[in-house]
């Protein structure tokens, strides 16, 4: 077994343990857990049997299995970036809504307070 295979398998095992820990803490949904476990199991399989990627490469018409794995990894990274950017945009808008609602509420309170008659001076 080559060193790169050991690194890949160890990293996949670590990643799967993190997925399970997050699931136990209630931070991940079952569907996401299944998807991530499937992904990391595929990484372990490819790490142990690199020739399995050749099957996919032949089917896709890419020369080498390793190239196929790289292309797919790149696609996945771009997709995750897209998801992250979208999520950040959503959070940004939500934060603006909260800040705006708070600012407008304070404005109305200030205007209300300005209209209240002053209390009579204490004797």
């Amino acid at each position: 077994m080559h060193a790169i295979q050991i690194v890949l398998i160890c990293f996949a095992a670590f990643a799967m343990s993190r997925v399970l820990i997050r699931y136990r803490r209630g931070l991940m949904r079952m569907l996401h857990v299944e998807m991530w476990l499937l992904f990391w199991i595929c990484v372990v399989v490819v790490g142990l049997r690199p020739e399995t990627t050749d099957l996919l490469a032949n089917w896709l018409g890419v020369g080498r299995g390793v190239d196929t794995a790289m292309y797919l990894a790149l696609l996945m990274i771009f997709y995750l970036l897209f998801r992250c950017f979208g999520k950040i945009e959503d959070l940004d808008r939500q934060l603006t809504k909260v800040v705006r609602a708070n600012a407008l509420r304070e404005m109305e309170e200030d205007l209300d307070a300005a209209k209240q008659p002053e209390p009579p001076p204490a004797k």
Partner: protein, 314 residues
């Protein structure tokens, strides 16, 4: 007090403004154009405070109540003479988004209070004395707890103006780049009642249009082209912050972006909501300070990415 009651005369406006707010009786007033430059303005039904519309003494200076309970600006005929632009208006409100603008905000507000009924400064999380100086100069200050960007501040200011019963809203930059007289021109253009959205254009030649630095011309041209490609509307100055909105436009605008890209998003809103639109030539004042506050290459790239995102992914 309800938010609705906040609007118009009860919202802390002075008596003359309160009068206008009541006379206007919301945007539901029926307005009819008549020949020979006369305009019939018939105002009836509940006002903003859910009370019958009336002047401060039961009858406005030139108008009176009719038997129907409706109030008319003019005498019995319901006709008021006008030159070309008279229109019953509620408060005119200037909105100024500001972030760390203590060097210029007082002067900008001082100019704006002369041409508007109320000036709203949206302090976008400034860490300096922007809010205090704006208040001292006569503005109503709305504070964002954290910095959210010029688009978010504009959205807050416009929503506040609508709540205060504004019939016309003009937005200005806080860095001193815009002249109060140009804002007054935009108010006057909105008062004609035939447009919902006005952009002050630094590129459009007018009697007092000024000279824009070459790199700003380049940025603006790129902004104009990008705005056109993404939203299908050509304007000569898509990045100018001096803009006017009618009550209709101000109460329907939905800005989803937070930064400089919101300036182009206004134009998307114009197209989506079928606002009647025009451009008014203005003269911008370029100082070292205002130049340092403007767009640079990296801001431009960021704005472009966010605009593309806004166009295709909402």
């Amino acid at each position: 007090m309800t938010r609705k009651q906040m609007a118009g005369a009860d919202a802390g406006l002075d008596e003359s403004h309160a009068h206008r707010g009541q006379v206007d009786a919301g945007s539901h007033a029926q307005r009819q154009r008549t020949p020979a430059g006369f305009q019939s303005v018939e105002l009836g039904g509940p006002g903003r405070n859910d009370e019958p519309a009336r002047g401060p003494t039961g009858a406005c200076g030139t108008g009176r109540f009719h038997d129907t309970g409706k109030y008319c600006l003019s005498g019995g005929a319901g006709i008021v003479p006008t030159f070309t632009s008279f229109r019953a208006m509620g408060p005119k409100i200037v909105v100024i988004p500001a972030y760390n603008e203590e060097l210029t905000i007082a002067e900008v507000v001082s100019g704006a209070v002369k041409i508007a009924d109320r000036v709203l400064v949206v302090d976008d999380g400034s860490r300096d004395r922007t809010a205090a100086l704006a208040k001292q100069a006569g503005a109503l200050v709305i504070r964002h707890a954290v910095n959210r960007g010029v688009g978010a501040a504009l959205g807050t200011g416009i929503e506040a103006a609508v709540r205060l019963g504004a019939d016309a809203v003009v937005t200005m930059d806080a860095d001193g780049q815009h002249r109060a007289e140009d804002a007054a021109k935009i108010f006057a253009r909105l008062a004609q009642g035939d447009v919902d959205f006005v952009i002050g254009s630094r590129m459009k030649k007018g009697e007092d249009s000024g000279h824009m630095p070459a790199h700003r011309v380049l940025f603006n041209t790129v902004g104009n082209v990008l705005t056109f490609l993404l939203f299908g509307v050509w304007v000569t100055d898509s990045q100018c912050g001096l803009r006017g909105l009618s009550r209709k436009a101000a109460s329907t605008i939905e800005l989803r972006t937070n930064g400089m890209e919101s300036l182009s998003e206004f134009i998307k809103e114009k197209k989506d909501k079928h606002w009647r639109f025009t451009e008014v030539p203005i003269k911008a004042i370029y100082t070292d300070y205002s130049m340092s506050k403007g767009q640079n290459f990296f801001v431009g790239v960021k704005v472009a990415i966010r605009l593309v995102w806004r166009r295709f992914f909402g």
